[in-house]
């Protein structure tokens, strides 16, 4: 009797489990997916603006807002000596009765942060570097700063495409220009005498500079920053040798070409209408995710078309050899390209924000932070904000 009970019980248990595929209903409690925490992330995708002012409608990613008649742009973002630093250009404009803006001067400001998200404008908002040399013609901007030998070294653009100069500082606030002349000028055919917006990295005992250049009459931004990107390297940061993907070298007296040009629609290229588009203001980040270096270039693409006249976005390209870059595909580019949705019958479906002049650091192995310039599209609704903004790249919140 006892044995029969055991057998029946066991048999019942077996039948219960045999029938489970058909018996069970959905809704069993499951756990989280798991397996995501160590996913590598290269820093090319999953960029999102960070809303730093959640009390105001819309994403407000600004760390510094510019005032009327001025523009903040071309940030250089670095982590050094236990702090986060940003050096950026303040460009001043004259605005005529028709609303046309004409740049009249520029200078370099500096901000500092302990966590990369809350920032303080240093030096009470006074510039840390001003134009003074003849070749600068009242304009210094587009800084790129490295922490070097107990201090800082800055390469900056002077004039409107006149050249690239160098300054050094022990404390990031007091800067000394170490050359009365630019260390890089637009002496190659493609540059048309116009270079600017450098990004310098020091890697494998070599300074590597990516800069934009080329003379164009396209959008105001392109007239200032150029529309193509070139490359130069240097052992001391002062004497630069330009090189291109064909291994031409300025040291050998060869005509060196640009390394990076507009080719994607969002960069404004329109071959039918003869519009070249623009890529400019590169921000370089070298990563080493596994066993080789990856050079990432974040850059401004200038799309000058409907629905907004001023529509720039941030794009991404990468290279394994420092100067032969592959652009991200349409899934990746543009990486920052926010639209303000607005259904106006027969006119527009959206207005575009402008995101431009990016600079990126790798905060953690799976987190990247970008500082960039942003201007809002519709002043009536948004207050017409412009300034230095913040975005992050990470796969999951």
């Amino acid at each position: 009797m006892k044995m029969n009970a055991v057998l029946l019980g066991a048999l019942g248990l077996c039948l219960l489990f045999v029938s489970t595929p058909w018996m069970i209903s959905c809704g069993m409690e499951g756990d989280i997916i798991g397996g995501t925490t160590a996913w590598p992330l290269s820093g090319t995708k999953w960029w999102n603006k960070v809303d730093l002012d959640q009390e105001t409608d819309g994403a407000q990613p600004f760390i510094f807002l510019s005032g009327e008649g001025e523009e903040f742009l071309e940030p250089s973002f670095l982590k050094a000596y236990g702090s986060f630093w940003v050096f950026f250009e303040r460009r001043e404009y004259e605005i005529d009765e028709n609303g046309k803006r004409t740049p009249v001067s520029s200078e370099i400001l500096m901000g500092r942060s302990s966590d990369a998200f809350t920032w303080e404008l240093f030096n009470d908002g006074r510039p840390v570097l001003e134009a003074g040399l003849a070749w600068e013609d009242g304009f210094v901007g587009a800084p790129t700063v490295l922490a070097t030998e107990g201090g800082f070294t800055m390469w900056y653009a002077g004039g409107i495409g006149e050249g690239i100069g160098v300054a050094m500082s022990d404390n990031a606030t007091d800067w000394t220009k170490v050359s009365s002349e630019p260390v890089v000028v637009g002496d190659q055919h493609w540059e048309g005498g116009h270079v600017g917006a450098p990004s310098v990295v020091y890697h494998n005992h070599l300074f590597r500079m990516y800069y934009s250049g080329g003379l164009t009459d396209q959008t105001p931004f392109a007239q200032f920053a150029g529309y193509l990107i070139g490359y130069a390297d240097s052992s001391d940061g002062m004497s630069w040798i330009k090189r291109d993907t064909e291994r031409n070298s300025s040291a050998a007296g060869e005509d060196v070409n640009f390394i990076f040009a507009p080719s994607q629609e969002w960069e404004g290229i329109n071959t039918e209408e003869g519009i070249t588009g623009a890529v400019a203001s590169p921000g370089i980040l070298i990563t080493h995710p596994a066993d080789r270096d990856v050079v990432l270039m974040y850059y401004s693409g200038n799309f000058a078309g409907d629905p907004a006249a001023h529509n720039m976005s941030v794009g991404i390209a990468g290279s394994y050899d420092y100067n032969d870059f592959v652009k991200g595909d349409y899934e990746t580019n543009p990486a920052l390209n926010e639209k303000f949705v607005l259904a106006l019958d027969g006119i527009a479906k959206y207005l575009a924000y402008s995101e431009y002049t990016p600079s990126v650091i790798q905060l953690e192995w799976n987190q990247y932070i970008m500082l960039y310039a942003q201007s809002d599209p519709l002043s009536e609704l948004t207050g017409g904000l412009q300034g230095i903004a913040l975005a992050t790249c990470h796969m999951f919140d």
């Binding site: 160590a38 995710p289 066993d291 390209a317 990468g318 870059f325 990746t332 259904a343 479906k349």
Partner: protein, 438 residues
Amino acid sequence: MMRFRIYLLVILVLMPAAAFATPYDTFSVGPRAIAMGNAYGAVGGDSAACFHNIATLTNAGAFQIELDYHRADIDIRFNDRRTDIDPDKGVRIGVVLGKTFLNRRFRFGASIYTPDSHFMRFVLPPRTAPIVMRYNNINHMQASIVGFAGQVFPWWSIGFGATFTSDHLGGVDFAIGEDTAAQGDLKSRLGSATTPVAGTYFEPLEWLSLGATFREEHQQMMHLPNKIGMNDLKVFQDNGLIIFQDGRLVLDVYSNTHFSPRQYQGAIAIKPSDRMLFSADLTFYEYSNMGNSMAYSIAIMEGDFGEVFPCVPPLDVPDPGMEDTWGLALGTEWGAFKTDHVRVDLRAGYNYRPTPLPNQTGVSNVIDSNMHIMAAGLGLTLGSLTEVLRKPFSLDVFYQHHYLEPRMVHKSDPTNEIGDYKFTGSVGNLGAGMTLRF
């Protein structure tokens, strides 16, 4: 307002499917079989035969019940950083029932594995997300194998059965609006996926056994038909300025989330003495049949959706390029101690499974590498314990270690969102079970 409709076929940001459809493929089944390195196709004698070679069910007793539990802790690392892949743990119930007619044994067998937390799980992370095909998601799957075996002659058995796994169908249909609460429903239905298994088993000599097994390809498709409607969205309630006109998104998501290749297996077991057993299995995995298993969706966008979020052309879906592989399993069992009432067996085994996966240089990141499985175990069999358990009662424990060879993944595109990485992995699988014979 012009209304338009855009038909879009995209391979959305969903991932390639994982490879193994059932936990049996990854961890094997049965404490004795696992401890013998999965070299069990010519051994059998318990419900684990349902997987290894269903014809060897004829080696089992007329009625036995097995209950075992395992826990596998999975240490997978990308660039030396450990992921948080869930441990795989669950209970397996096995049963063998049978009768002898005309001096021939006939057996019904069932082996049912049920994970601790859920009966099944589908994971649809981003398309490019790194997924370790043997361990992510797949093993969290209720799976059963049932079948019959019978002796044609005392030296020749055949068996047939089927693998069952849970499957899911369903989706959401709801509308959202600024002024009204979201309305809708979720339809979810549980189904099953079924594929056949078959085997044959020979005992040409008293000390020699031969087996052959066929396991059909097993694949599961998840289909989620989602419909999301949205009313006009206004920027300010007072002026009624509409920023989104009403629209609708129909998103049909399909994903081949689980795949197990067709397998042909040959096995041999040699028993030189009553206390010694050697076994070997050679398995051909037909991975080349594995088509592109990337999840994809068909999206129909109506209203302002399509204009504000412009459609993109279909994503390039690379062929995974899976290759057929051969796996080798070797096992041994030694009766270390034996009396009339007690027997202690020591077991050990090794299983090599080369990866079918080519280098992942493109957008997908299905991850795998050559795998070495080392196992050991101990079996304690007690005879005639009680009035009820007059037949031998067994307790078995095992430890199985998976070692995945380090593999470097280099991306051809430097803008790949995942980038280069080094993949390493090991898994410790500990379990125990008991067998009741009646």
